[in-house]
Amino acid sequence: MPACGGNYSNEDLDFQNALPAREDLTPQISALTNLDTAEFYRTTRDSVRGFSTLLDNILGAIDEVRRIPATRRDKDIRQWGPWQSKDDPTLQLRVTIRKNATAMTAENPFGFVFAYAVDVARIKTDVWVNFVSGSFNPAGGVRKGRGQVVLSTLGMRFLGLPLDKNPADTDDELAWLDTLTINYATLNDVSWDAFAMLHVDPADAMPPEATQAQWHYREDAAKNMGTFRFGWEGGADLHAQAMQITSTWRLSDSAGRADVLITAGLATGKAATECWGPDAVATYINRTYEPEKNKGMENTCVFPAAQ
């Protein structure tokens, strides 16, 4: 009597658990908008949103796939697909999660890690290139652990596969990216570091806005504090070829501050500090490069300057 199937399985549950929850990786900052919203609050918020969207695109696809029954089920492997891409019928996709044995350590209490991969190929071919790879080191909770996600467009570029649904719009797609590496930990407090190598096309007449970018996020629930630091290098702007912004805010009401430092270019050393209240209106502005905009007292800031 053959079974009709499904994914009702305690073993499958381990594989379904081998991916961080997107919500855990998304920085908590409220989306406030006022007529005089603080400029660096807005920059922080938009950067958080942008990165969250990127994470959604990467992890969301895997997240959805693991809800459906695996196509292939071996002892330590679950594979979904291949199936035809809805966005591009010329492509086929597959998702694989493997359970690999490793040494049992304090940081690796189960003695194995999960490795996952999203591979892409042209339809009706068997030449697969990796698009997303990663690992998850379970820590014992529900989707809690440490791991890495690597997104690479290099293989797809090698095969000449399209990266954008709409090539004319490069903002929302991945054409600007070569690789993105995210190391994360979703234990008691969430933290992650991301590093992106941006795509430089020699054929472009204009130099790129940047060649690499970094994002770091630390959440400290005990201190009611979230810290988001992002920066970029290799910019075409001669005054600010590299910049670092560190934003710190209260998790409870998003009141916080941002410290900006230009680290390369003609304006190297220029800095700015901006603090805002729960209403996202600036309470303190101190810019070394635009002193006419300075206002307020630093003691209105809810946090001291970042270390």
Binding site: M1, P2, A3, C4, G5, G6, N7, Y8, S9, N10, E11, D12, L13, D14, Q16, N17, A18, A21, E23, R66, R67, P69, R73, F110, P138, G140, G141, V142, R143
Partner: protein, 533 residues
């Protein structure tokens, strides 16, 4: 030849039914639709017995407290009731009260045995028991196949029209008649037949009709035993002559000594009934009850009035003419004799015949049940971490006797849920399992006590859709669907005519193959309330 023989019988017994002896009458009425192994369930045996019980009380001079009815019971219950009657007869005899004992049986009989469900009662044993009874007059009426075996003597020849056996040494019964009379519905080699049009057996139907007055040839308001037999015989033979089962010939055996005739019914003592004046047109009149079943019929002859002591109720009177029907509604009320007025009848075509018959089509009995129960897997780890014990609500639709008699086809739908904790290697997560089950079953049933108690056993195939929602929303839902074969058994107890209580147990096999192959088993226990359409 038949007429001559009937006439001789009537002359022998009919003339002296004038006086009703002061006697106390007792009755034991037995009816059982079931005859055990190798027999089909009868449709009307129990109903015939119920009607005879009512007729004996209403028309036969039996007090309600002296009329015992044993319906759908086995031999032990019958003998116990007979013992009760015998005890009362002895008490009456001690008081020098004249007594009569009427035993009536409707049900299966075969090989000289009355078949009472899974038990049997020998006709010879019944005969001996009757003859040993302290009653002055003992009348046994047996309505069953081959019941004539009880009246058949070795070497006796079957009569030209009906089978009369007599062992009486003197041929003149009197007022103080004593002895035993056997009346059977068929000869020793014949089947007794039932009819949907009359909702009973031909024999019992006509015997009751005789008691209602249809057999009163002398028109004296009483129906003697000989009148009743003569009428019942002729009507039963006439009705079954064209039936596929062949003509059915009731038999009569008596061993009465003394003077007088045994009066079976004093129908005229009942005030209510239908009266046909002498001026009413001659012909056959049928009284059709609300179910469309012929409840009584009477043959009206010209210039002679007729009366039929039918029970209170609303009836349609029907008289058949060569090219049409004459029908009209009558309402018989307690204590009132309704005189039929011909002008109250109207002409209708044959297509409007009010006789519909009892529609007990064995291929179209349906029932619906609602119940609740629990499902549990046998394997403990499975039960605690994969498929937890679940409470279930169920609904089932059953078609009975569609393929074969006493076979049931069921279609059921169930839903339930249970809570458990999934222990995977990396995570432990509480969940709620939800389940939807669609099943079909083929079941054999064995009705006992005329269907009051019906055990059943059969096969079932179920389609299960199980899903589990983890309390932790970060974990996606899981589902599993499969076909599962199993066995089902249980017991249905009839609460009322159409309601029943079902206790059911199911055992199922389930092949689980998500990641690993495992053979699992589970059982379901449930109780349900059923309704028969």
């Amino acid at each position: 030849m038949t007429r001559l023989f009937t006439l001789a019988f009537c002359l022998l017994f009919a003339g002296s039914a004038a006086a009703q002896p002061a006697e106390r009458r007792f009755a034991l009425v037995v009816g059982n639709d079931l005859g055990g192994e190798g027999t089909e369930t009868l449709l009307y045996a129990r109903e015939d017995a119920r009607r005879m019980h009512e007729a004996l009380i209403r028309l036969g001079g039996v007090r309600p407290e002296d009329a015992l009815a044993v319906l759908g019971r086995n031999k032990g219950a019958v003998l116990a009731a007979m013992q009760t009657i015998e005890g009362r007869l002895k008490e009456a005899a001690a008081r020098r009260t004249r007594t009569a004992f009427v035993f009536y049986y409707s049900g299966h009989a075969k090989d000289g045995l009355l078949r009472l469900g899974e038990t049997t009662l020998s006709l010879q044993e019944l005969k001996q028991r009757m003859e040993a009874s302290p009653a002055d007059v003992r009348l046994a009426i047996v309505d069953s196949c081959r019941s004539g075996a009880v009246t058949r003597n070795k070497g006796a020849l079957r009569g030209p029209a009906f089978d009369i056996e007599t062992t009486a040494s003197t041929g003149t019964p009197g007022d103080n008649a004593r002895g035993t009379v056997f009346l059977t519905s068929s000869s020793f080699d014949e089947d007794s037949q039932e009819s949907d049009h009359i909702g009973g057996s031909y024999f019992s139907y006509h015997l009751i009709g005789a008691m209602q007055g249809a057999a009163d040839q002398s028109n004296d308001g009483r129906v003697s035993l000989s009148e009743a037999y003569t009428y019942t015989y002729s009507r039963t033979v006439a009705d079954t002559a064209g039936a596929s089962g062949g003509a059915q010939h009731p038999t009569f055996s008596y061993d009465l000594k003394g003077n007088g005739e045994f009066v079976l019914a004093h129908y005229a003592e009942r005030k209510e009934g239908l009266y046909l004046s002498s001026k009413a047109p001659a012909g056959a009149y049928f009284l059709v009850d609300g179910r469309g079943v012929v409840a009584a019929e009477v043959q009206k002859v010209a210039d002679r009035d007729r009366r039929i002591a039918i029970a209170p109720g609303q009836y349609t009177v029907k008289r058949r003419l060569p090219d049409r029907l004459r029908i009209g509604r009558v309402n018989i009320t307690q204590g009132q004799l309704y005189t039929l007025n011909e002008s109250a009848l109207r002409d209708v075509p044959f297509s409007d015949d009010p006789v519909k018959g009892v529609h007990r089509d064995v291929s179209s009995r349906y029932s619906f049940s609602l119940g609740a129960g629990a499902q549990s897997f046998f394997d403990q780890p499975t039960r605690s971490g994969l498929f937890p014990t679940a409470g279930m609500v169920t609904a089932e639709f059953v078609v009975a006797d569609f393929l074969r008699h006493n076979f049931l086809i069921g279609l059921d739908l169930g839903s339930g849920s249970g809570n458990g904790v999934a222990n995977a290697e990396t995570v432990s997560a509480a969940f709620q399992m939800n389940q939807l089950v669609l099943g079909t079953s083929l079941v054999k049933s064995w009705p006992f006590f005329d269907g009051d108690l019906v055990p059943f056993f059969g096969l079932r195939l179920a389609f299960l859709f199980m899903s589990r929602d983890f309390n932790e929303p970060a974990l996606p839902n899981q589902f599993f669907s499969t076909f599962s074969p199993g066995l089902t058994t249980g017991l249905r107890y009839r609460l009322t005519r159409s309601m029943g209580l079902i206790a059911r147990a199911r055992v199922h096999y389930l092949q689980y193959n998500v990641g690993v192959d495992r053979s699992l088993g589970f059982h379901e226990l449930s109780a349900a309330l059923s309704y028969d359409f």
